[in-house]
């Protein structure tokens, strides 16, 4: 009977899974992401100008002609923001995908094989986790020839370990579940167990790994490019900020060269975080129940306090 408590939470969890309703936070996040993706996909078609072209007098404030003004070099900021979305999101998501894939492979191998393989891989993972990422990224980026490929290499080398650790922990806990033992007893092969029994139960973990990896990748990319360690001949959010600071945007009061890009980075980051919260809530019914009841109480004007609330207006 001691385990009935676990059983109950499990049951509650499953109940939560049965009602797939997109939480408000996730919806907000998805809408923002959708807008940016649309911008990245069709943006360059609808953008008024070639983002590289020098189209007008430098540092024009936003106007009807140039929605977000012009840069210190006379390029159209709006067009550059759109073009930046395309390359930054692409690099961010590709790097996120690579980090998740590598992390998932390392984590899954370490978790399922155990023994020496696990010891070595987890050591590798932990070691790469404690080495500070950005300084390493700066050093790597400094040595590699500037370009998108190098940037991906840098981002992935500095960012895979976290995912590996998360995936390994999850695989370990799933591996100890009785359904895995049951599959072995049935006679299933190891590969079948990893890919058909364990991985399908990890989609939300992989999804949130992917999200955090992408957030990291976008942030680190912008940071490196801001330092001038990217390919400066491309238009990305990072190079936009680099040029803005290079053209002394703040000194000239040209906030419009900094704000749109900064805001875009922040919005995409926030949207991703919102989506991952919602994933958290979906997989962690306690969080969801708590916020649901808090809402129910708030609707009655009762603040959640230290004691069980007494609500008589109801039932």
């Amino acid at each position: 009977m001691a385990r009935s408590a676990d059983a109950r939470t499990l049951r509650a969890g499953e109940r939560a899974m049965q009602t797939p309703k997109i939480p408000r936070k996730a919806a907000a996040g998805l809408v923002i992401l959708g807008v940016f993706f649309l911008m990245a996909l069709v943006g360059p078609l609808v953008a008024p100008h070639d983002p590289m072209a020098f189209v007008d007098i430098p540092l024009q404030p936003p106007s009807r002609v140039h929605l977000l003004g012009t840069t210190g070099q006379g390029q159209d900021v709006w067009s550059q923001t759109i073009a930046g979305a395309r390359s930054s999101l692409l690099v961010g998501f590709v790097a996120g995908l690579m980090m998740t894939t590598i992390g998932a492979i390392v984590g899954a191998v370490a978790g399922t094989f155990g023994g020496l393989v696990d010891d070595v891989l987890s050591l590798l993972t932990n070691v790469s986790l404690v080495i500070p990422a950005l300084p390493l990224a700066v050093v790597l980026a400094a040595y590699l020839p500037a370009g998108t490929r190098a940037l991906l290499v840098v981002l992935v080398t500095t960012g895979w370990a976290w995912n590996a650790r998360v995936v390994r922990a999850q695989v370990l806990s799933l591996r100890n579940k009785d359904f895995v033992a049951a599959a072995i007893v049935t006679g299933e092969s190891r590969l079948h167990i990893v890919f058909r029994e364990i991985l399908p139960n990890m989609t939300s973990v992989l999804a949130s790994c992917f999200i955090s990896a992408t957030v990291y990748a976008i942030g680190a990319q912008v940071g490196l490019e801001f330092l001038g360690l990217g390919d400066m001949s491309l238009v990305t959010w990072g190079t936009n900020l680099y040029w803005a600071s290079n053209d002394a945007a703040l000194l000239t009061g040209a906030w419009w060269t900094l704000v749109p890009t900064g805001l875009s980075v922040a919005l995409v980051g926030t949207a991703l975080v919102l989506v991952s919260f919602s994933l958290d809530e979906i997989t962690n019914p306690r969080l969801r129940a708590v916020s649901a009841s808090a809402r129910a109480l708030a609707a009655r004007g009762i603040r959640m306090g230290a004691s069980t609330p007494v609500v008589r207006d109801h039932g």
């Binding site: 009977m1 408590a5 109940r15 939560a16 649901a292 004691s307």
Partner: protein, 321 residues
């Protein structure tokens, strides 16, 4: 004062506000607990035993809320108390021994700190006096007072459970609620803990609300027993009476599900089916689907708890007084 029962629960309703709708875990439960009495509360997992217990002192965390009823302790309604009064009421008047001993003790504080905390908060005793009292309490439950400086993880399960009992005794409260105090333990250890409780009960004349799912345990403690099913009290009777003449089909089934170590072997009957989903309780009697004798009336009308004899009541349409 003498005619006011120690505890009277009237039509208590507790609901969990889950994202997929409210779960009515306790539904119109009423009972009375007299001074010096040990009231047993039994029922299978999920029947709402712990919810009832914790609602008494309003310590249920979110998403629980109490949506109806009264809890009268020595005549005053706990549900109407203000936060501060409630805090003073807790532990001084009603203390708890919770289901799982490991989780009921804070892992980062020492045993001593956790006992002294109560003494200092409620009695404003000096730290030294509190320490002495804590040591005395540990001795009372048969633990070396040197263990005051231990952390919970350094004690065995049985010891932790006894610490829980010592903690419950700290302020000499008129009522102790024991919520499955031994479920997490192996039989040998369980036996030891239960005998300690039995001993203290005799010695200190405690009033206890004793919650368990194990009929054999409660039979040795309780003066009266209430049976919970799907959040409702379905039968209530003095212990002897209940075991001798169970009236509700569920109680009968429950008693029939127990296998004995001794005596003749008979085929176990059990109760067919499984407990209902509290979120989608059918109309009428909650036990209907598992009841062999259910009638059309059971499907429409929910039975209420009615007296059917001296101190014996049950909630079943099939039982006439």
């Amino acid at each position: 004062m003498a005619d006011v029962p120690l505890l009277a629960v009237e039509d208590l309703v507790v609901e969990y506000m889950t994202p997929s709708g409210p779960v009515r875990a306790v539904d119109a439960v009423s009972f009375v607990l007299a001074r010096g009495e040990v009231l047993g509360l039994v029922g299978e997992s999920g029947s709402g035993k712990s919810t009832v217990a914790q609602a008494l002192a309003r310590i249920l965390g979110p998403p629980a809320m109490i949506t109806a009823g009264r809890v009268l302790f020595e005549g005053s309604d706990v549900l109407a108390m203000h936060e501060d009064d409630l805090r003073r009421f807790r532990w001084r008047k009603m203390s708890f021994v919770l289901q799982s001993a490991m989780n009921a003790l804070c892992p980062v504080l020492t045993i001593g700190e956790q006992i002294i905390d109560v003494l200092v908060t409620h009695e404003r005793t000096s730290a030294r006096a509190a320490r002495e009292r804590a040591a005395h309490l540990l001795e009372l439950v048969g633990i070396d007072p040197a263990r005051l400086t231990s952390h919970p993880h350094e004690l065995s399960g049985g010891m932790r459970q006894r610490v829980g009992i010592a903690l419950a005794l700290a302020l000499d409260p008129p009522l102790i609620v024991m919520d499955e105090p031994t479920t997490a333990l192996d039989v040998v250890v369980q036996h030891e803990v239960l005998s300690k409780i039995a001993e203290l009960k005799e010695k200190l004349g405690l009033s206890v609300l004793f919650i368990t799912h194990d009929m054999s345990i409660v039979s040795q403690f309780a003066t009266r027993i209430g049976v919970l099913y799907a959040g409702r009290l379905v039968e209530m009777a003095p212990t002897r009476e209940l075991f001798r003449a169970p009236r509700h089909p569920y109680t009968k089934g429950l008693l029939g599900s127990f296998v004995s170590l001794h005596g003749p072997r008979r085929r176990l009957a059990g109760i067919p089916g499984s407990p209902p989903d509290l979120r989608r309780l059918p109309a009428g009697c909650a036990f209907r689907a598992r009841c062999a004798e259910a009638t059309a009336r059971c499907a429409t009308e929910a039975p209420v708890l009615r007296g059917i004899g001296e101190d014996h009541s049950t909630a079943c349409h099939l039982v006439s007084p």
